[in-house]
C-alpha cells in the first residue's frame, strides 16, 4: 500500500467491487460479538446445538475409520448432486415427517448442500434477479436475509402471531407487492419452531398458506432445520408433505447432528433440481465427500433417533429453565414466545427500548443476545431480541437472564431519566 499526498483509503480495490458487495461493511455490533464467545460471558446469542451431548468417542472412531478404511473415496472428489447413499438416507429422514414417495420425494430430487446456508444461496441464485421480491415472515432467519440480499432481492415481511404466519396478512402482502409492479418470486418460510421467533405455523394455517400461494402462483421455499426438535408432541407435517408441486424443501443436519460437518439439502422438482445441481457445481464443484460419508455412516450405523430424543430432552429442560427465569426476573412490560421446539425464544422489550443500543451495557454485564433488527430487512425489531437456549446449561441460562433483567432495568431507568421512553410505553404489559 502506497501512501501518497492524495491520501489512501487503504483499499486499492474500492472501485472494483461488484454492486452486490459494496454495501457489506462490518458493524460495531458484529465487533461486540467478539466478546460474546468468551467463557466469562453468558451467551444467549448464537444458534449452536449442544454437540457435547453426542457420543463423541463413537463419532470419533467412526470418522477415523472413514479415513483409514475408506479414504480412497471419502477423501476424493464427489459428484455435484451429492452421494446416492446419502440422498437415500435423507429421504428416510424426510419420510419420518411425511415427505415420502407418496408425495413424490425421491433421492433423485435431492441436492446435497454445504449446510442449509448453501441451500438458501442456491435457491436465491436459481430464482432471484435484482429487484425481485421475496416474501418472508417477520422476523426471519438472518442468514436467509443475507442470501437474498446478496442476490439484490428485496424482502417484504409478513407478521406472525402465536400460530405463525398470519394468512390474511400474507394475502394482503402478495396483493401489495403485485400492485407495486414488483414480482414476488417465492414465500420463504420456516413454519416449524421458527428461527428466530420460536413459533409454529398451525395445522389449519398450513393449508391456508399453501392455498394462498397456489392461487397467487407463488412458489414456497420451506426451510425446516428444526422440525425434528419438538418437545411437546409431534409438529404439524411440513408443507412439502402436503403438496407435491410448488414447494422447495430445505433442511440440514446442523441442528439434528453436527453443524461442523456442514451438510444440508434441497428437495426440488426434477427440472429445477437439474439447474440447482449446475448452480451448485459452479459454486462448490461438489459437497465434501468426507462429510457426506460421515452423515451416511452416522445415519446407517448409529442410534441417531435416540440421539434426537436426547437432544429434545436436553432442549426442553433448557427451554423450561429459560422461560421460568424470564417469568421470574424480567421487568414488567417484557413479553416472549413459548416455543414447542427448536432453539430460540423471541423476546419483546418494553416499548422505547433499543436492544441493539443496549448491547454494550449487556456485554459490560457479561451477557449476550442477538438484537432483533438483524432479523428484519426493513429495520423493524428495535425492541426485540433473540435468546438461544440450546447451548447453555439451565444454570447458565438462569444466570444469563438474571444479568439481562438487570440490564433492561438499568436501561429503562436511564431512558426514563432522559425522557426517551414513549409516554404510552412506560412499563405497560402488551
Amino acid at each position: 500500500m502506497t501512501v501518497t499526498s492524495s491520501g489512501t483509503t487503504l483499499d486499492d480495490y474500492a472501485d472494483r467491487y461488484s454492486q452486490r458487495v459494496q454495501g457489506m461493511t462490518p458493524s460495531e455490533i458484529r465487533a461486540l460479538f467478539a466478546v460474546a464467545n468468551r467463557p466469562e460471558v453468558v451467551s444467549l446469542a448464537g444458534g449452536s446445538p449442544y454437540v457435547s451431548a453426542l457420543p463423541l468417542d463413537a463419532v470419533g472412531e467412526m470418522l477415523g475409520r472413514l479415513a483409514a478404511e475408506h479414504g480412497a473415496t471419502t477423501l476424493q472428489y464427489g459428484i455435484g448432486q451429492g452421494t446416492p447413499e446419502l440422498r437415500e438416507r435423507i429421504c428416510e429422514v424426510m419420510a419420518l415427517s411425511g415427505i415420502d414417495g407418496e408425495v413424490g420425494a425421491s433421492p433423485e430430487d435431492v441436492v446435497v448442500t454445504v449446510g442449509g446456508q448453501q441451500a438458501l444461496d442456491l435457491v436465491a441464485r436459481l430464482f432471484l434477479d435484482p429487484g425481485d421480491v421475496v416474501i418472508a415472515e417477520g422476523p426471519t432467519y438472518v442468514g436467509a436475509l443475507g442470501a437474498f440480499q446478496a442476490a439484490q432481492a428485496q424482502v417484504v415481511h409478513v407478521p406472525m402471531d402465536d400460530q405463525g404466519l398470519i394468512p390474511e396478512a400474507l394475502t394482503e402482502t402478495i396483493a401489495r407487492v403485485a400492485a407495486s409492479g414488483r414480482r414476488a418470486k417465492f414465500l420463504y418460510t420456516i413454519p416449524t419452531y421458527q428461527n428466530p421467533a420460536g413459533v409454529t405455523l398451525s395445522e389449519e394455517r398450513r393449508e391456508q398458506v399453501l392455498d394462498i400461494c397456489e392461487q397467487a402462483d407463488l412458489l414456497v421455499v420451506e426451510d425446516d432445520p428444526y422440525g425434528q426438535l419438538g418437545f411437546e408432541g409431534e409438529a404439524p407435517a411440513p408443507l412439502r408433505a402436503r403438496r407435491r408441486d410448488g414447494v422447495f424443501y430445505l433442511s440440514t443436519f446442523s441442528k439434528t447432528f453436527a453443524p461442523g460437518l456442514r451438510v444440508g439439502w434441497v428437495l426440488a422438482p426434477p427440472a429445477a433440481r437439474e439447474k440447482l445441481v449446475m448452480v451448485s457445481e459452479a459454486q462448490i464443484l461438489c459437497p465434501s465427500a468426507f462429510a457426506q460419508a460421515a452423515i451416511t455412516t452416522y445415519l446407517s450405523t448409529m442410534p441417531w433417533q435416540e440421539q434426537l430424543k436426547s437432544y429434545r430432552e436436553i432442549y426442553r429442560e433448557r427451554r423450561d429453565a429459560l422461560l421460568e427465569a424470564l417469568g421470574q426476573l424480567m421487568p414488567e412490560g417484557t413479553t416472549w414466545t413459548r416455543p414447542a421446539g427448536g432453539l430460540f425464544v423471541w423476546a419483546t422489550l418494553p416499548s422505547g427500548l433499543d436492544a441493539k443500543a443496549m448491547m454494550p451495557r449487556a456485554l459490560n454485564a457479561r451477557v449476550a443476545y442477538v438484537p432483533g433488527t438483524g432479523f428484519y430487512a426493513d429495520g423493524s425489531g428495535t425492541n426485540e431480541l433473540r435468546l438461544n437456549f440450546s447451548f447453555s446449561s439451565p444454570e447458565r441460562l438462569r444466570e444469563g437472564v438474571r444479568r439481562l433483567a438487570g440490564v433492561v432495568e438499568q436501561e429503562l431507568s436511564l431512558r426514563s431519566v432522559f425522557g426517551t421512553l414513549p409516554l404510552d410505553g412506560k412499563r405497560t404489559h402488551e
Binding site: 491520501g7 483509503t9 458493524s27 443496549m358 456485554l363 457479561r366 432522559f418 426517551t420
Partner: protein
C-alpha cells in the same frame, strides 16, 4: 540476549476484535524483526504463565479498560514484568478523558471545553435541567462520548439539542460517566509519539477524512470508508504547532515509549487535543502504522527498539511497584 516478548491482546472490552487484530499485527512485526514473540489473552491463564515461564517484556495491544486504564500495567508491575508503553499511573490518567483534559488544561494545552457527569447526577438533579445548563455553558453543537473508552464507540456529534437525550443514553450504555465536549469543527489529525530513549519525537501527523464525515467505528476499521493523508495536508507552521502540542500532551500526562494524540485543527489553524491513547491501534487501518510508513519506519523495527528499551527497565521494576499499584 534477545528478549522474549509476550504480546497481550483480546480482553473483554468492546474493542476485543480490534485488539486481536492489533496484537496479531504486532506479533508478526516482532517476529519479522527477529524477536521471539508469543500472543496471549489477558485471562486467568496469564499469571500462571508468567510464573511458570516468564517472558522478558510485554507488549500491551489490549484496547479498552484492561489495556489502557493502568490496572493491568499495575499487575505486570507486581509481577516484575517490564512492558512497552506508559506506566500504570500515566495510563490511568490518559484513559480517563476528563482527568486527562484537566491535566492538559493545567499545562496550557488547548482542549475543547467540557463537562463530565455520571448518570446518577442526571437522575438526581433532573436530566433536562442539567442538559439545559450544559447547552447554556458549552453551546451547540456538542460531542457526547463515554469518559472512558475508544474506537469512537458510544460517541455522537449532537447538532440539535433535541437529540441530546438520545446521545446521552447511547453513551451511558458504554460507560457510567459521560463527557460532553464543545464541538470544534476542523480537520481531524492524529500524531503518534515515539521515544526510543532520546526524548519523545512526533511522527508526521495523519489526517483523517471520513467519506461520510463521521469517523465512527465503521469508518475507522473498514478499508475504503476513510481517506487518510500522511503526512497531513497542513501548512508547515500548523504542522509544527500540531507536533509541538502532541509532544506537550505526551509529556504532560507522563507517558513514555509511545502514544497517539488525537487533535482537531480548527479553521484558524489552532490545534486542540481531543484525547491521548496509551495503547494505539495497530490494525491495518490504524493511524500509528500509517504514521510510521510516512516516516519511513518499519513497525517491527520500532517495536524491537521499544522492547529493548523496556527490557532495560526490568531490573528497576521492583522499586516502582509501590507507586504504580493498580488503583
Amino acid at each position: 540476549m534477545t528478549p522474549r516478548v509476550l504480546v497481550l491482546a483480546g480482553g473483554l472490552s468492546h474493542e476485543r476484535e480490534v485488539s486481536l487484530k492489533s496484537g496479531r499485527r504486532v506479533l508478526d512485526a516482532l517476529r519479522t524483526a527477529g524477536l521471539e514473540a508469543e500472543l496471549r489473552d489477558a485471562d486467568v491463564s496469564l499469571l500462571p504463565l508468567l510464573a511458570a515461564d516468564p517472558p522478558d517484556v510485554a507488549v500491551i495491544a489490549l484496547h479498552g479498560a484492561a489495556g489502557e486504564d493502568g490496572s493491568l500495567r499495575g499487575v505486570l508491575d507486581l509481577c516484575g514484568l517490564p512492558y512497552v508503553g506508559g506506566d500504570a499511573r500515566a495510563a490511568r490518567l490518559a484513559w480517563d478523558k476528563p482527568s486527562a483534559k484537566a491535566v492538559l488544561r493545567e499545562h496550557g494545552i488547548p482542549t475543547p471545553d467540557w463537562v463530565a457527569l455520571p448518570h446518577e447526577r442526571f437522575s438526581e438533579l433532573g436530566a433536562m435541567a442539567v442538559l439545559d445548563r450544559i447547552v447554556d455553558r458549552l453551546g451547540m453543537p456538542l460531542v457526547v462520548k463515554p469518559a472512558q473508552g475508544g474506537s469512537g464507540l458510544g460517541t455522537t456529534v449532537v447538532r440539535d439539542p433535541a437529540a441530546l437525550p438520545a446521545a446521552m443514553v447511547s453513551c451511558f450504555s458504554y460507560h457510567q460517566t459521560a463527557l460532553v465536549e464543545r464541538y470544534v469543527p476542523g480537520v481531524d489529525v492524529a500524531v503518534s509519539v515515539l521515544d526510543f530513549g532520546e526524548g519523545p519525537q512526533a511522527l508526521p501527523a495523519v489526517e483523517i477524512e471520513p467519506r461520510d464525515g463521521v469517523y465512527d467505528y465503521v469508518a475507522r476499521y473498514t478499508a475504503g470508508l476513510t481517506t487518510w493523508h500522511a503526512p497531513a495536508r497542513l501548512a508547515p507552521p500548523v504542522a509544527t504547532q500540531v507536533a509541538d502540542i502532541a509532544l506537550a500532551a505526551h509529556q504532560a500526562l507522563g507517558l513514555r515509549d509511545l502514544s497517539r494524540v488525537d487533535l482537531i485543527v480548527d479553521p484558524d489553524g489552532q490545534a486542540h487535543v481531543l484525547e491521548v491513547t496509551v495503547a494505539p491501534g495497530m490494525t491495518e487501518t490504524s493511524l500509528l502504522p500509517l504514521a510510521l510508513q510516512a516516516a519511513g519506519l518499519e513497525l517491527g523495527e520500532v517495536f524491537r527498539r521499544l522492547v529493548l528499551r523496556a527490557a532495560t527497565r526490568g531490573d528497576q521494576s521492583a522499586g516502582r511497584q509501590a507507586g504504580n499499584a493498580p488503583g
